[in-house]
Symmetry: C3
């Protein structure tokens, strides 16, 4: 017997993230969901994920869902739509269901929700739209599957179980601690231009020893096209750093980040997602 | 006696599309609607329609509303606001009401919903805001009219009936079939940069005979400033085409489209909405 | 005893404005609010306020809230997050509560809602998230405080009262009337590129005497980097002015504005927020 979803089938929450942009495709999916689950509260997480950027989508989904009520969360960043990549639903320890393509997009969020307790391929034909296109599974498969689960369908009705060890997983970005040096990576650039990094304060301290507000850090940035070496001060918050200066800080999800106070670190430093970052004391 | 709107007056759906952008004008209309119809579920279709682009708005509205629950749908792309263009409400065969300016924006959506069964000019003064501005009919006329209809008002109370033959209609883009050649047009460029064309697979096959995945097509593109000749392969989906290659495909609304796999066809080809497209076998 | 909020605690409206952009931070706050106030109707006013632009945020909030149902409205444009700037809640004459940082963002909206009747510092620890970050008070302080008020908590439970004379207030932009000349200022550039100015028709008429549709006005624009002198015609609406021509008009909030018909005045004139504007008869 399949484990079941969390509470609130009366006004179920459906989290929703895509790279569809703002010109109507997300609204079409929303229409499909509301046609099935009329009382759903659809919470748009983001629809402006960079096109085809599975890694960005996975980061944003994993960052957001722990703050949403337990619910069904649909995510579609899906360059492989219409190929043989699987359509999956993951039940999590917290009681959420995650719906989307099996391309690595969902697993980081599942880990943040306590891990996968049941994984299934979406194959319940009676749930899906009668004609399934080969370019818009958001509308034809993921939205209706999410809405059916939101209205109280059993997770076991999604389709056959799959071994969660076979799910596609993105290579995790990691922070490597060595004596006096932390090697990390930009995992996401937020809308303020702040560089969000792999690893947290624990890793920084393990590498450099204790840091305090004002501690000067030497930061190297390197990607395929550029290199930079800058100094950033360890800070508790933006407002304590003069406008235009760089700071390193613990972001609101507990990870390391680099910002320019009242500015944009990504514009200032020319470094984006995937850039390698080295940090030592200045 | 006027025919009536479709079901669900308890939690009525209001679809909402504008070119207002994201800085507050749409929220003002939403506030007006919720002040009148407190339990309405407002579904934002898009508010980033290109400014004054009636044709883009009409395309997006017509593409989205068939997927929304039966409801009231307000659309405002309205360069003629405050002139003598009429404010109209259209009742459709499916039971939806469409609200907006009489400038061609609504009719394609009405056709997709089975056609217009009743057309009226919005003149019910008791519905409108006390002071009507000459630059923001979205707030003063369209939003309150939609909300009153959503709460259960009779369609006949909108105002006097108009002959639907007098409604402003945009010239339809068409695909012209000749022996071995399809002449068509870009009707919309979506947020992925895919070129959505007039006509469907039936027209393509009528012109070129049967096409199969992999069939090579020679595509000419021409607009006021540029010309291009490229080869695209007929494909079922994006993921089957190597990244960076062009494909022609049947889009999720059943129309022809041209895309660059994992890229942007509009950027690659320099062709946008309105460009003339010719397709023959390569 | 503290005065209380307005009606509708069953489906409370929460207006929501930030400079967080579209990539997930607003959704995190929405998740926090819905976790506390499950039946709240959250009305997004804007999340694309220019980064750190308190003045723009204050303008948009003040322009929007009068059109929203009475409710709790949260606004976060907060370059000083984590410093000693206060977190405040303002009860207004109309019965709304405004929640956000004490940096001038909220007061213009409060004035539009009849003025502040009670002002408090948000200090109710039982309302806030257990761990308060120093970079994301939207999530940790403002969203939960708003949600608790929305569910019916007493305004007095927010925290200690503060003297509203001590609240941070932005310097107001004003229109200065002299004989034959109005000196004013761009207070906001909307998404159409229209320049919204300080002052209304009354000030214009006081300076220049009566104006009529077609009256030619000489407009000077000056900011730190550019100057321009143009002619604009006083118009009632956009559609009466030929495309590409400049018009001056009374905008939908009753203020003066300058637009290019079917175009963008800010692009045409190179003038943005804060630019000084002079108007006389041409």
């Amino acid at each position: 017997m399949a484990p079941e979803l969390g509470p609130d089938r009366e006004r179920p929450v459906i989290g929703f993230l895509t790279d569809f942009g703002l010109d109507g495709a997300a609204a079409i999916c929303r229409g499909v969901m509301l046609s099935i689950a009329r009382d759903a509260q659809i919470v748009d997480i983001s629809h402006t994920v960079a096109k085809y950027a599975i890694r960005d989508g996975a980061y944003l989904l994993a960052t957001a869902v722990p703050w949403l009520p337990v619910g069904v969360h649909v995510a579609v960043v899906d360059p492989g739509v219409g190929t043989d990549r699987r359509s999956i639903a993951l039940l999590t320890q917290r009681g959420d269901a995650l719906i989307g393509p099996d391309n690595g997009l969902l697993l980081p969020a599942a880990h943040r929700l306590g891990g996968v307790t049941d994984a299934r391929v979406i194959e319940n034909r009676s749930w899906l739209l009668p004609a399934t296109s080969s370019t818009f599974h958001g509308r034809d498969i993921f939205a209706p599957a999410a809405a059916h689960l939101a209205t109280g369908a059993s997770f076991g009705d999604v389709g056959p179980e799959v071994d969660s060890a076979t799910l596609v997983e993105l290579a995790a970005a990691t922070a490597i601690v060595s004596d006096g040096h932390l090697a990390t990576q930009v995992v996401y650039v937020d809308s303020f231009g702040n560089l969000r990094l792999a690893g947290g304060v624990a890793e920084l301290v393990a590498a450099l020893g204790p840091v305090e507000p004002g501690t000067r850090l030497q930061v190297t940035l390197q990607d395929s096209t550029s290199e930079a070496l800058v100094v950033a001060r360890w800070s508790r918050t933006f407002g304590e750093t003069p406008a235009g200066e760089l700071l390193a800080y613990e972001d609101s999800s507990g990870a390391l980040a680099i910002a320019e106070s009242s500015g944009s670190a990504t514009r200032r430093l020319g470094a984006g997602s995937g850039a390698r970052i080295g940090i030592r004391r200045a």
